[in-house]
Symmetry: C2
Subunit: 339 residues, 2 copies
DNA sequence: CTGAAAGCGCTTACAG
DNA sequence: CTGAAAGCGCTTACAG
């Protein structure tokens, strides 16, 4: 910051009024004589005065500053959510800081020191214990409903996304088309060694196996894959195996695209040899050739719900968890086995 | 914010010392007797004290808060730059707010009121006049070097990305392979009616036409396309025409993918019928089948350069513009005409 | 209708 | 070695 920022005092001097009058004019919340008002407005223009939001924040204990914590914003799905949220936040006078998730108490403490009015969190990897630090200190917090369910504070409001229902629909679609050998990829950054049945996708996947008495082959589950390259290699291996699946559910469109690349590298065709379903309906899904079948997560609704719940909460209103439906968009990457 | 946030005063009371001592302990910049120090540390722990960064900002005229203004963060290229920058910022004690570009003076004023220590701007659409408001008010500002060159303040430091050189290399590659009918797509959100020869890609594109005495067919230039759908439709039209180009340069990988989708929809093959080159080397480029030839823009270098220049500037150092090289990554989407 | 004053939570020069 | 005090730029209850 420049050391010569124009302050309220400078404006007052220039306009020949007291600083208090300047506040009354900029906030427009008290009667000020027309003449003084004009002098103040004139001085503001001449000097290029910008009221100091930080000072206001200190005085009024309100920062109009929201934190958005997210594991991977390079995924178009989340990037678009951030853009939407920033739009709504801007309309309401708030600003959003984007924060990469870090599993580190010191980092959370640094964030708390920033006096955010609220926090929105979308994570597969942050422990409930660390998430809870926000509500525990009194910061209104919204959590995108997903895998982390253990020990979440009751003070947190959930935007529950029906990924479970979407998964059931996707799986039913595959089963109806005659698939029984269905694989599943979860690329979220979590421990590799165990299958996480709390993951709503895994849960739906397992459920359908049970419902239709299909054998669940653990070799068909790729979990904790570490980045695009890893997903490529692991799915390449999977489809190279003798007992390869005929269909695969992939937790994200771009990763579904990667899986398709691996499939094609093996000279297999989509959907003739392998059916693929993704999640999110991002650009790549819409323009893939063939068009990707995918579980649509309504981004606009999520962004609006999260931000409006949060602002209501900041303003002291009582808010309830909200449920967001998902939808299966049927493209051309799934094929009936019975044809 | 909760009304009962723990302050320095509370800690002092609990520890039986003066508030000043608490500051000395948290800042660790003055001698404090071992005994008092321990009492303070203990009280901080018991009460869960988090120093108020906003108050510090007001007092020290430093917010440790940086604005990143960008037209479209849903593009993986920019999203990854944001993630990288956030990482470096975090190491240095700064936080980044992501701001969608808005061509609106009121909005810029609101940002200025926020007391950002600095701003990083990457835009194709914001006028120089509005960009200059930041340096004019004394806010250190970094601009990603690109199309907006008119009237930029000398106080702005540029991270110049050699898009021009990258374009020359891409075009040379196509020319050497025998292409003479080369199209170009610029999907940035600008006015549609005129060809913007200030655009570094257009400039390189035109340059090569001149160098090799190739006729520049204006119908081959798609500019001001409005989103993915528009790029799809316009490129579909282009390749449907009788005198269709044999190669096309697309200003961004995902858009290059869309162009390929359009090409395939016409039952044309890449690269047999149409050669395609993109920009950025994002995930889609790496995993496209065939692998996309693309102009690589080194994101890590850009993020680091921008943030370190900015922090140096904030700290009062004299900094100079920096040049970032680009590279042509040769994939499998270009084919020689002479084979 | 207007303005002096208190106070938000900090830092730090200065005096003891 | 420690602490009272000034001050960062604001808002607003209160007194005139």
């Amino acid at each position: 910051m420049s050391s010569k920022r124009v302050t309220r005092k400078d404006v007052a001097k220039r306009a020949g009024v007291t600083p208090t009058i300047v506040s009354y004019v900029t906030n427009n919340n008290r009667y000020v004589s027309q003449e003084k008002r004009e002098r103040v407005l004139q001085a503001i223009k001449e000097l290029g005065y910008h009221p100091n939001t930080v000072a206001l924040g200190l005085k009024c204990k309100k920062s109009y500053h929201i934190a958005f914590i997210c594991d991977d914003i390079s995924n178009e799905h989340f990037a678009k959510i951030v853009m939407d949220m920033e739009d709504i936040a801007n309309e309401r006078g708030y600003i959003i800081s984007f924060c990469n998730t870090r599993r580190d108490e010191q980092y959370i403490n640094k964030l708390i020191s920033r006096q955010f009015d609220g926090a929105i969190i979308s994570t597969d990897i942050l422990e409930g214990e660390l998430i809870n630090k926000f509500p525990d200190i009194g910061i209104p917090t919204i959590l995108f409903g997903n895998r982390i369910h253990e020990n979440i504070s009751k003070d947190i409001t959930f935007v529950n996304i029906d990924i479970y229902g979407g998964t059931l629909r996707a799986m039913e679609h595959l089963v109806k088309e005659g698939h029984t050998k269905i694989a599943f990829v979860d690329s979220s950054l979590k421990e590799q060694d165990t299958i996480d049945y709390n993951d709503l996708r895994v849960k739906g996947y397992a459920e359908i196996h049970e419902k239709y008495n299909m054998e669940l082959n653990k070799d068909y589950i790729i979990q904790g894959a570490n980045g695009y390259k890893d997903v490529f290699e692991k799915s390449y291996q999977l489809f190279q195996s003798k007992d390869r699946p005929t269909a695969i559910l992939v937790n994200d469109d771009m990763h579904a695209y990667i899986v398709m690349s691996a499939v094609k590298s093996l000279n297999l065709q989509v959907p003739e040899d392998v059916s693929i379903i993704g999640y999110n309906d991002t650009t790549i899904a819409k323009y893939m050739v063939p068009r990707l079948t995918t579980v649509e997560i309504p981004r606009k609704k999520i962004s609006r719900a999260a931000l409006e719940l949060l602002i209501d909460k900041i303003e002291g209103k009582v808010v309830k968890d909200i449920d967001i439906d998902t939808d299966l968009i049927i493209g051309n990457t799934t094929k009936s086995m019975t044809q």
